[in-house]
């Protein structure tokens, strides 16, 4: 009568002697695939402040603020409000410079709500970038001035060659 029942018990009994399929998290961890969407990472130096990620996001998670220094955009703020993130990866897909990426860190729980938001940009990073741009601009200006001077000097010679 209870044949099916006993068969079921046999199946569970067989598994009793087989190796366990569970993993003892957090001591043991399974490998995560490369495409996994964990905690976001932002590469300040790669970002060109194009706003593509901000526009791609369905939940307005990313807040980007820029300042213009010598006609160049400097990212002064890149806030990622993780609590509203769907981890859909549309921002990563939209980014032309791979400046926003997702790591494999999935333990994102925090004790306090304000800690959830990630502020990626540090003030000293901004300062450094501004310095760099200023330096680059100065160097460029100097180079141009030197070039102009060189051309100026070459002109008479050119004219002479043309004549021959």
């Amino acid at each position: 009568m209870a044949k099916g029942l006993i068969k079921g018990l046999g199946i569970t009994l067989k598994h009793f002697f087989k190796p366990k399929v569970t993993v003892q998290y957090p001591e043991q961890r399974l490998p995560l695939p490369d495409r996994f969407y964990g905690k976001p990472e932002f590469y300040y130096d790669k970002c060109i402040a194009c706003n593509m990620c901000v526009n791609a996001c369905p939940n307005r998670v990313i807040k980007l603020e820029t300042e213009t220094v010598d006609k160049k955009k400097v990212v002064t703020k890149y806030d990622f409000d993780q609590q509203y993130c769907l981890f859909c990866g549309l921002c990563e897909e939209a980014c032309p410079k791979d400046a926003i990426k997702f790591s494999k860190d999935f333990e994102l729980t925090r004790y306090n709500r304000p800690d959830i938001k990630i502020e990626f940009v540090q003030p000293d990073q901004v300062e450094r970038k501004k310095e760099e741009i200023k330096k680059a601009a100065a160097a460029k200006a100097a180079a141009e001035a030197a070039k102009a001077k060189e051309q100026e000097e070459q002109k008479p010679a050119d004219a002479g060659e043309e004549g021959s």
């Binding site: 009568m1 695939p33 996994f36 369905p58």
Partner: protein, 366 residues
């Protein structure tokens, strides 16, 4: 002396594990017998259709994951299919095959949850653990290809987000080869169990006519013996290239509804195997403009999801955001018949009957 009796009200849910989420049924009981049942959905309503109106066409995709979160891939598919129809986009063959593979994997995953949760509803928690063990393999596969387990957001308008990663095909094949063993185990553990059969056989018999009248779909409809599966009846994507059967029930009772799902898993595995064999090379995304702006108009497209016919209606006013999106959610429609199915059954059967419909509240409430 006569004992005075009266009917009384009992709230089943919203916080109850057997309702598979936050779902409430107001039961009018006469002793233990159900006289009337009023389903009260809406506890998980997030207004996805309304949210879609303020998002661009691509940005709606992550929200569709959250409809039937047990088969997010299929929900993605239903939506992108409608937008593709609206825009007249051609999807490359490889993308269609990938969609079939991940879609059928999602269907198996969803049916595994249905099977396991049903066993747990009836009182056999072991079955639940066993199906979840195997569902884990599918979750790994989906995570590999899309980066997320439940909310893949993998499909894009005109194709899929990324190509198949290394190792996916081998892993998928291994799973497909293993699945028959797993199903045999479920049969031994759940299907063959006498108590399970006593609790489900001849319970809440649903006739084919009634199922059609209430426009039920999916395994619930096919368990009543109606041969209607969109993949066969009106093949979309590349489903006309695969050989598979549509499993049917004979009686339309709870047992048939449960068993049809098991049989469907086998067929899905068959489809995946053929799709893997035929998988063509080529691009994974069709010619779609960067900014998606469909012409003015409307489109309605249907796919066969794990719960039934999932339809998406999209209206465009020519801008970058959809003017209106509506989802025909099979779980919601299938619930429409709940009152009549429950009437006259004992309160313990309520759980068995509700479980056999296999609802997912993300989809019921949208």
């Amino acid at each position: 002396m006569t004992i005075k009796t009266e009917e009384f009200l009992l709230n089943l849910g919203p916080q109850h594990p057997s309702t598979h989420g936050v779902f409430r049924i107001i039961l009018t009981l006469d002793g233990e017998t159900v006289v009337k049942a009023v389903p009260v959905p809406g506890y998980l309503h997030r207004g996805i259709e309304k949210l879609a109106e303020s998002r661009t066409y691509t940005q709606v995709i992550p929200y569709t994951d959250r409809l039937d979160y047990l088969a997010g891939m299929l929900m993605n598919w239903g939506y992108v299919y409608a937008v593709e129809k609206l825009m007249n986009v051609e999807v490359p063959e490889r993308a269609e095959y990938i969609r079939v593979i991940v879609g059928e994997l999602a269907r198996i995953a969803s049916h595994l949850v249905a099977t396991g949760a049903y066993a747990a509803d009836i009182g056999g928690l072991t079955g639940f653990i066993y199906t979840f063990r195997d569902r884990e393999d599918i979750m790994d596969l989906l995570e590999m290809i899309s980066g997320a387990r439940l909310t893949p957001s993998y499909m894009r308008i005109g194709g899929v987000a990324a190509d198949i990663p290394d190792g996916f095909i081998e892993k998928c094949r291994r799973f497909i080869d293993y699945l028959p063993d797993a199903i045999e185990e479920y049969n031994g553990l759940i299907t063959g169990n006498e108590i399970f059969q006593a609790r489900t056989k001849n319970v809440a018999v649903l006739s084919a006519e009634k199922a059609i009248d209430m426009s039920l779909s999916g395994p619930v409809l096919r368990a009543s013996g109606v041969n209607y599966d969109l993949r066969k009846a009106r093949p979309y994507s590349v489903y006309d290239r695969f050989e598979f059967e549509v499993p049917l029930g004979t009686k339309g009772d709870c047992f048939d509804r449960y068993y049809v799902r098991l049989l469907e898993m086998e067929q899905s595995a068959k489809i995946i195997r053929q799709a893997l064999d035929q998988l063509p090379e080529g691009p994974i995304k069709g010619k779609v403009p960067k900014v998606i702006k469909p012409p003015k108009g409307e489109a309605y497209a249907e796919i066969e999801s794990s719960k039934g016919i999932m339809g998406t209606y999209v209206v465009s006013d020519g801008s970058t955001n959809p003017y209106r999106v509506h989802f025909r959610r099979p779980s919601f429609v299938n619930l429409g018949y709940l009152d009549e199915m429950l009437k006259g059954w004992k309160i313990a059967d309520v759980i068995a009957i509700l479980g056999s419909i296999d609802i997912v509240l993300g989809e019921v409430d949208a």
